[in-house]
Subunit: 109 residues, 2 copies
Amino acid sequence: MHTSELQWSTEEKAIAKEAIATAYSREISGLVQVVRDRASSLNSMDDLWQLHDFLSARRHELDGKYDDRESALLFVFSSLVKEGWLSLDELEGLDAAKLSKITALTRMF
Amino acid sequence: MHTSELQWSTEEKAIAKEAIATAYSREISGLVQVVRDRASSLNSMDDLWQLHDFLSARRHELDGKYDDRESALLFVFSSLVKEGWLSLDELEGLDAAKLSKITALTRMF
């Protein structure tokens, strides 16, 4: 899959940017809610350090996840769709080849 | 200050153990409360990572703090008294030389 050879039009770039921002906002809101819930039932030091481990893992994961380089976008979108942070509908406007690759990647990983 | 040469009687060891457990429990309870409060006002990713940084720092600090080796006890107690997790009264029963060293250390650092 030669994603690096794909051309992104100005319109597609705008759609991609918006989709990434939407997914990111949803994922962060979800994470904020999880952390609030976990924090409200904290009791022991073990609970504290489990919360710390959880945040360490999420931070590491999120640091590399929202890669907006064009060469990474198809992989990024397939992950976000698979994880439920984005629907394929929200990528409407990308050309059919890109959408088809995103769908294929969603099934592969 | 030759803390390593001090002898700790069975009674003193019991007092030290109890005092450490008391201070530890108080400090963890305080930390749980702080984390709950911070978590309840989380909103953004920055807030999440600030909470993560805060927990990283506390974990690092607490990992080395409650050292219950006899050679470390006077330093541990002076820190705990200084930080308010323990009062000198709660060390009653230790011999006068130890209490006096703890008091002196509390003033030094």
